[in-house]
Symmetry: C2
Subunit: 265 residues, 2 copies
């Protein structure tokens, strides 16, 4: 069972910490410097067990995204990467002697777009980038480092983001509501997007359990506490409920669009 | 007594909130959108009373700094603004019939540079901008929204910033240690730069006092609590101890350099 995640966001938004929190790993990521001259896409592949399913998970990180003085090429590298995976699959599909069932599919199944927790709204690069990507992959926008934002500010911030996405015609991934078994929870979850997440590689003892937390002099944020952030919701949506739907939409919608445009050239 | 502050930093870093916190004002700032095509410098002037001194305070905000896809012009607008104030002063100084003592001095006395709390280090634009400004004004780098960073991360972050400034030859403002009456406190304070600040326009009752605070589900950050952030240190250094020194260095060092280069042209 293959699943490929692309994490897009500026350096220092907690992307690697969030991935470690979601998948209980320590992605041996050496912190990346801020001053790379261009965006580099770094992929890590892991063999994991997620609730009795053996998962071959690949996480691609955009190193240096948005850090350059001129950010224009930031998202071009990302678009090129996604297209390259479609192209590789297409080449395999077009072979006379092909073996698609053993082919290691690297197509991006979901793009987690990390939004800077400014409290004001999206940045120009966020809108430009997501607009370029919304016909190429499933986008789930995420508010990074949500422990920066108070409860009252968060509601306004989420509404602002959703309205900016709508007025710019950006189509983000909708959790599917056509399948009765998941329609209810997915409908509720769609209303919470963008998920405001907190991640941590530190644990604090609570009772007799070790809980992922961020400790401050004024209090401790518990990653899995739903009144502290939407981490549990994201994990539910991403890993437990909709992984198969994201793979299907990638194959039946995004890939087909790429293939059609490519073969019409 | 005139004092001019220039606040440089990306939209949403809490610049206006910090100014309100430092000067007990509510700067009627309508939150700025993120997608201005260029940086606009907006000045607000206030008549304040700071411990028995009547202060004519002007705060200049860089609206849209770092938000454009191409950030190159972000700092050019800032450099042009600072030079324009020197130029205006020079023109007055060169007049035959002049009145410098009634001239409304708009030269920048201090530049508060707001650093994004990524935890990793400075961004390319931060280094490029501060390098362009360090011979033109007194720079005090500030870690914005410091309630995003835990105590252990903060020490590493501060050291990383200081070492990046040093290895890039950026000269930030040093609190003066030649005057015996302030040498001790200034020497201590120099060791805490960049100040990690939190600001707030909300108040929470603590005992019988209303304290500036940011309330979260997991705890309340108190802006004036020195174990929560360096707000009190910044206020001490900026307003109570070194305002006169910053005005002097602007006039005797930065302005003289500008004037010399200008008259040599
Ligand atoms: N406030 C806050 N800080 C975080 C969070 N997640 C990670 N960090 C911190 O942010 C810094 C950068 O995290 P990292 O995962 O390396 O970010 P990346 O560059 O996007 O991969 C580190 O100091 C982390 O401890 C979070 O949810 N909230
Ligand atoms: N976490 C945190 N948020 C802050 C702080 N100061 C301001 N904010 C919030 O950040 C958002 C932007 O603040 P604002 O002062 O308008 O930023 P500006 O665009 O730089 O002037 C608002 O939602 C503020 O409530 C702070 O010290 N910490």
């Amino acid at each position: 069972f293959i699943f490929n995640i692309l994490c897009i966001g500026e350096t220092g938004l907690g992307k690697s910490t969030l991935m470690d929190s979601l998948f209980n790993t320590s992605f041996e990521s050496t912190p990346s410097p801020h001053n790379l001259p261009a965006v580099k896409l770094k992929a890590h592949t892991y063999e994991l067990q997620e609730s009795s399913v053996r998962l071959k998970l690949t996480i691609v990180d955009t190193v240096g995204y948005g850090d350059q003085v001129n950010k224009e090429d930031s998202f071009k590298s990302v678009v090129d990467y996604i297209d390259a995976q479609f192209e590789a699959y297409l080449q395999e599909e077009l072979k006379i002697k092909r073996s698609l069932h053993t082919y290691h599919d690297t197509r991006t199944h979901v793009c987690l777009y990390f939004i800077c927790p400014t409290g004001h709204g999206l940045k120009s690069i966020d809108l430009v980038c997501m607009k370029k990507l919304d016909t190429k992959c499933n986008i789930i926008p995420i508010i990074a480092k949500a422990d920066t934002i108070s409860k009252t500010e968060l509601q306004k911030f989420k509404s602002k983001i959703i309205s900016e996405l709508q007025s710019n015609g950006v189509n983000i991934y909708q959790f599917p509501i056509d399948d009765e078994s998941v329609a209810d929870v997915n409908t509720q979850m769609n209303a919470h997007v963008p998920f405001a997440v907190v991640g941590s590689t530190d644990f604090v003892r609570v009772g007799n359990k070790m809980m992922r937390s961020r400790q401050y002099p004024w209090g401790t944020v518990q990653v899995e506490n739903e009144s502290h952030c939407d981490f549990v919701k994201l994990r539910e949506m991403l890993i437990r409920t909709n992984m198969e739907d994201m793979r299907e939409k990638t194959h039946n919608r995004h890939y087909e669009l790429y293939r059609k445009k490519r073969l019409e050239q």
